[in-house]
């Protein structure tokens, strides 16, 4: 059950843009579809949703080919917008109607989301106040309305393409909170983003695409584990450069006596710590961890783009 993408394939002329993409979500959670610009993420999403014809493969939802009739999908496209000159309420009611939500239910849901996203003043203006048009809103507030459009049908499968791009920190936290709530409700989420920290925060499984091909796939925790603990964040009271050099660890970045190091493994890190203590260097921070998703991503797809 759940979502299964089998050998999704697309080419334009001779150019293959999605090359046999496969992944599955057996249970609710968040799946990340990552890749550089032009790697084939958006094309894959469009094929999954039936907007683009597939040249091969299939998308299965609960054992049936996924269609808009058998799966309630919420989609926040990367290229998103609103009708600039139409009232916000008209637009939301229209999109709700297209998704088969009754008028009464749509009004309730709009009120709920407006409250939640802090958009009540735009959607329910006080009497004698002209309703706001989309182009009178800031980008962040427009994004709130677009988010409402994606969630208005209470979808079971939610696809978010760059959901947090262009948001200020306050709105980012607001959106993150809502994403967490949707996860808690047992929804299936597919997220595509270039903000690796965000992906890392939510996703359990990932696929990294590079120039149409899958270059890395699996459970994020397992992937990171396979790399071992090689990132060492070290902060000392005194200069420790010579000891680091002796240990064989590589300095990635350095700011005064705060170092970001790459070590071969725990043994090398422990040896360095022992040497620093022996030398009477006061250690403030010693944080040995697995590589971040950002580092894994850059390692996997960075060569071509360097």
């Amino acid at each position: 059950m759940g979502l299964e993408v089998r050998n999704l394939y697309k080419k334009y002329g001779e150019k293959v843009v999605v090359d046999n993409l496969c992944f599955e979500m057996k249970k609710p959670g968040v799946y990340a579809l990552l890749g550089t610009n032009g790697a084939g993420k958006t094309t894959s999403i469009r094929m999954m949703l039936g907007m683009l014809a597939k040249d091969g493969g299939e998308v299965i939802w609960n054992g049936q080919p996924l269609t808009m009739d058998n799966c309630n999908v919420g989609y926040l496209a990367e290229e998103r917008g609103l009708y600039p000159k139409y009232s916000l309420m008209d637009q939301l009611m229209y999109f709700a109607g297209l998704r088969g939500v009754s008028k009464e239910e749509a009004k309730k849901r709009i009120a709920y989301w407006a409250e939640k996203l802090g958009a009540t003043e735009y959607l329910f203006p006080e009497k004698k106040t002209k309703p706001k048009l989309a182009d009178e809103l800031s980008k962040g507030n427009q994004q709130k309305i677009q988010f409402m459009v994606a969630l208005i049908s209470d979808p079971e499968l939610i696809i978010l393409d760059e959901p947090l791009s262009g948001l200020d920190p306050v709105n980012t936290d607001l959106f993150k909170g809502i994403i967490r709530e949707e996860i808690a409700k047992g929804k299936y989420l597919i997220m595509s983003s270039h903000q690796m920290a965000t992906v890392e925060e939510f996703c359990t499984d990932i696929t990294i695409l590079d120039r149409s091909k899958t270059v890395l796939q699996g459970h994020l925790g397992e992937i990171k584990k396979s790399y071992g603990r090689v990132n060492l964040k070290l902060k000392t009271e005194q200069d420790a450069q010579s000891y680091i050099g002796e240990s064989g660890a590589r300095i990635i970045t350095m700011k005064e006596t705060e170092y970001q190091l790459r070590v071969d493994g725990e043994e090398q890190a422990n040896a360095l710590l022992g040497r620093l203590i022996d030398a009477g260097i006061q250690v403030v921070t010693f944080d040995l961890r697995e590589p971040s998703l950002h580092e894994i991503f850059v390692e996997k797809v960075g060569d071509y783009h360097e």
């Binding site: 469009r46 949703l49 907007m51 683009l52 014809a53 080919p65 269609t67 808009m68 009739d69 999908v73 919420g74 989609y75 496209a77 290229e79 998103r80 917008g81 609103l82 009708y83 600039p84 000159k85 139409y86 008209d90 229209y94 999109f95 109607g97 297209l98 998704r99 088969g100 677009q146 459009v149 994606a150």
Partner: protein, 330 residues
Amino acid sequence: MRFLWKKWVIIMSKVFKFTLLQLFKNKSNRIVFGILFAVLILSVPVASVLLGDGGAKDIGGPTEIYIYADTLKGYLENGPDDFDTRYAVQYGYAILVMIISVFSATYIVRAIVEEKSSKLVETLMISIRSEAIIFGKLLAVMAFMITMLMGGAALFALSCAVTGLFTDVSFIGDVLAGLGISKGLLTIGPELMLIILISLVLAFLLFSQISALSAAGCSTMEDMESANMAGTMVILAGYIISTITMPMGGKALTIAMTLCPFVSSFSAPVYFVMGDIGWRLLIGSWAIQFLLAIILYKISGKVYDRLIIHTGRRIKLGEILAMAGKGEGR
């Protein structure tokens, strides 16, 4: 996969309703049609003051402007100047078709390009097939134009009637007579009304689909003018050919202009009303137009999905047709 017609129609009707509502709510539409309606209402009393005797007329009811298809043939046989009449009728009808078609084409192009440039298309396509988006818009624009046309005609008639209660409006008959159309001879009966309606709907379907196809190849509002131009050129070509060829007469030319699509939208009903062709040719002309509308719809169905999510440079009409021919639609 089973195609769910019922759902398609329900969803398409929502697009229709929303587009129609927005066309009526649109500020610039309200201004344009407000001015047009004001001109229609005021033209009769103002002209009666400027052209008529200005004196009060006995209350004699509305002015006499009747268009009677049945008696028109007789009038043409015995009429004073066949060329003038033919030209006036053709010119009047062609202008009507052209205005409706150009307005509709502009609205359709704007509606489609606005949606594309606003990056709403993908959000819409989650719920609805691209053909339904476009078809809903076409129907909404058609309903809007028909409403405006009927509204304009009703307001003009009302203006004539009300003005006729207070002053002399015989100048309208004089103007028509000057064009070769005598008052009292022409009345729009139900039969003629039906012929005009069918002809207008077919003309609309043909021209608007070309505009819709052309618009689907655009991504930005800057491309809108070029997309509009493609549809307008086809409309203008039909208009010019029909007004030039109509007064010429000649059996072969009449049949050719009746059956040639795009031109026939302007001339076939006029030829019929003038008695140059019979029902058989008129229905043949309609059938060709309907067939072409279906072919255009099929072509659209092949390419809309790909075009509608296309961003970047404008894809020209010729390229779109080539894409459809090669089956590169999606």
